[in-house]
Amino acid sequence: MITVRISDDSLAIACGADEVAAAFEAAGCTVERVSSWGMHWLEPLADIAGQGFGPLAPEDVPAVLAGTSDKGIGCIEDHPFLARQQRFTFARAGKTRPLDMGDYIAAGGWAGLRAAERLSPAEIIARVTASGLRGRGGAGFPTGIKWQTVANAFGNRKYVVCNADEGDSGTFADRMVMEGDPFMLVEGLAIAGLAIGAQKAFVYIRSEYPHAIAKMHAAIAASADLVAPFEIEVRVGAGAYVCGEETALLNSIEGKRGEVRAKPPLPAIEGLFGQPTAVNNVLTLAAVPFILAQGAEAYAAVGFGRSRGTMPIQLAGNVRHGGLFEAGFGLTLGELVEAIGGGTASGRPIRAVQVGGPLGAYHPPSDFHVPIDYESFAAADGLIGHAGLTVFDDSVDMGDMARFAMAFCAAESCGKCTPCRIGSTRGVELIDRLRAAPTAGDAALLEDLCETMRFGSLCALGGFTPYPVLSALKHWPQHFGLIPETTP
């Protein structure tokens, strides 16, 4: 009897994994549904005794079983895409069945929590602080310091809130954690609860991720006894990108409009239901079990400058080898999209890479030398955000993308602050006007508007929308009609 391992990650399913699995079963194989390795261009990827085949369609199954398929990629773990990675958070990716407790334990699961249970809250926080872990949601705030603030705050009740509202186009690492290794997130939440003295955690998941929601529900139910009396509850968003902003997310859990709150007070002091709350991103919490199990030093040993540990980088958009690439900070943008990503999927030259989601800047190839770390990208007028890299080939009109950035902001603005509420709509209109009849005055007005939004907005939605707009304007003025289009 042949055992075939095929992912049940929603990307694999979207690419036909269920049909391929059914074909293997029909052919008499035992099929195990595991997490995804993250080599998305190969999905659906079948793993038969460590040998990989992909991307498969049901009609490829007979050839695979007959040993005649040309879709073989050899030993999966030796694949260069994987071999170059350093997997801490995604160590189990592709190897375990997401909701199989036995698989999780066998692969080292719960070791972090067991270790944390032997420590005092202060010791847990000290280890997280020592690891250099910074929030993976984009702002890069040191996690240990945030936890310490919550631990010190006075409150009748404290909360851990997992921000699983990752809605940035070009990112999917959170989704892969929740779908592929949900117990790891549960473990991270439980450790956070111990550290800050919280009784309850909420995992706020965007409604666009139904599979992640289902897996998290199941994993929480299966591990309830292991983390008790700590309680974890899934909350489902309702179609509001802005709820990825932590204070809007807290309002949403409370059952309010997802409007951004002014800070201070910080959520760490006055967060969910007015109580001290640690709001952490999925990847941040997912990194915690490793730190507790393997030690802060093991985590801190990897990285670049003040950006310690690994970063799950997501290669997306028009890229040949799209998927998840976890590595220490410090690889350059060019290495990632060209050497690792293999250039565009279309085979055309890369025109731009948007780094950090819809609020990230568009980088031309001239930025390819910039290493992936928080500080270097800030210096290059960008941000790494969630470390999603969206590749565009030379068919893209960057004027369209600048307009889209404003339109996206207008569609998702909570409407509380004026620069974002009115500015994003005016931005769309202004870019249209500029492109229809370019004038220096309107170009200057667009820059002024971006300045108003950047420094005037209440949160990053309005505040960072100028990144894609201004980067497009700066690097591709011809797409706004401001200089003549030249053919290279």
Binding site: A14, W41, S169, G237, A238, G239, Y241, E254, P358, G388
Partner: protein, 137 residues
Amino acid sequence: MDLVAAIVAAHAGREGPLLPILHDVQAAQGHVSEEAIRTIAHGLNLSRAEVHGVVSFYHDFRTQPDPRPVVKLCRAEACQARGVEALVAALPPQNQVRIETVYCLGLCSAGPAALAAGRPHARLDAAKLAALVEAAT
């Protein structure tokens, strides 16, 4: 007790129960009517203005019924980079399926992507999208 009141009662005692209730009401009735808003407001001891404010904030909630099947099509940057706008432009006109724009399904390395009847679809081209819409009706 009517259905909405029963849903409210089922969530009573939860911390911040409004969004879960709205999801359930929408799932059960296809939309959140003004009548439902009144019932929810009464049940949770909120003003109906507050509930209306919340319902109208989130794009997932509808106040008017629309029984058509839905295809959620991602039109965010990563899918744009892979040509979703051309697919949209090429879609034959139809009114049987509600094609909703969403921004990101997390399938960004394999776009264009869509979600129909709870199942994700990736690597769409014009034919696949048309087939998806056809299948949804």
